[in-house]
Amino acid sequence: MRTNIFHLRRIQSKRMEITIAIICTIIGFLLVTQFRVQGVLSRKLMELSEQDLGQIIRELNVEIDALHREVTGMRIQSYKYRRETADKQAILDEAARNLEDLRIVAGFTRVQGNGIQILIADKEGILNEHDILEIIQELRAAGAEGISINDQRVVARSALEKREGYIRMNGKRIQSPYAIKAIGNPEILYQAVTLPGGIKDALDSLEGISFRITKESKVILPGLSPPKYRYIAPIKGE
């Protein structure tokens, strides 16, 4: 009986020991695994963070550089465009100014300025184109920048023709009373016309002609619409 109990206890004790041993095995296994995994994990994390951070920083730096370059490039391009635009604008302005000058020279625009006005009444109709032409010549010689007769602008192409009872200029008829306007230095123009033995004297001496000249602070000359050229063309390459 005693031995039996003792034997039983021994068996129980043995079983207990084995059980504990198995549990201990499991614990040992878990311990080592956890230890290793945790170590590997933290090491991997550290490596990851170091390498990755380095890589990320490098990549970001590269990206920043690229973006900086892009910004610089775009600034340059923007500057170029702006300058080009400015250049174009300057060219356009220049062209516009030139065109304006040319239009003034050509007499295509309404213009104003200091000048004189001459009023000639020809009751008898004895004035001919040569008289008018002489006045124009005299005014031009005195530096008139623009001349008009009866609201017809005198331009380079203008021609005067004597017709029956009237004079034709720019395809329109002009007749007494003639209102001749000229833009230029009023004093010089005035003197040029009123010179002793000059036009005024010559015309005043004629019968039925009244000649009045006034200096004007604001003379307005009409523009002449540009002609249509049918035969003339510029020579290319000049």
Binding site: E17, T19, G28, V32, Q34
Partner: protein
Amino acid sequence: MGRLYLLPILGLLIGVILGLVLRVDIPSVYVPYLGIALLAALDSAFGGLRASLEGKFNDKLFISGFFGNTLMAAFIVYIGDRLGIPLYLAAVVAFGVRLFQNLALIRRLIFQSRGWG
């Protein structure tokens, strides 16, 4: 007395060697679960040691406690993760506190049994 510890220590050694040899890789996601399971297992082991020193050791209780605690700990942590509640901390505190209590008791029991206290 010495012979009583021989087999468990041998088991522990075998477990360590197995772990080293097998090199079981666990996905990093499951590492917290394994950790908490290990804590529960240690708690059970020390509890068992204490019980045996007190002469109250019950192998069925011990085994059920070991597996039950381990699995429950892992499960609770998992649930906590899914719910967004850090039950992990609760498990760590609970098992940790009990572990230290058990260790203290074991120390006292060893002192008493040796007649040092």
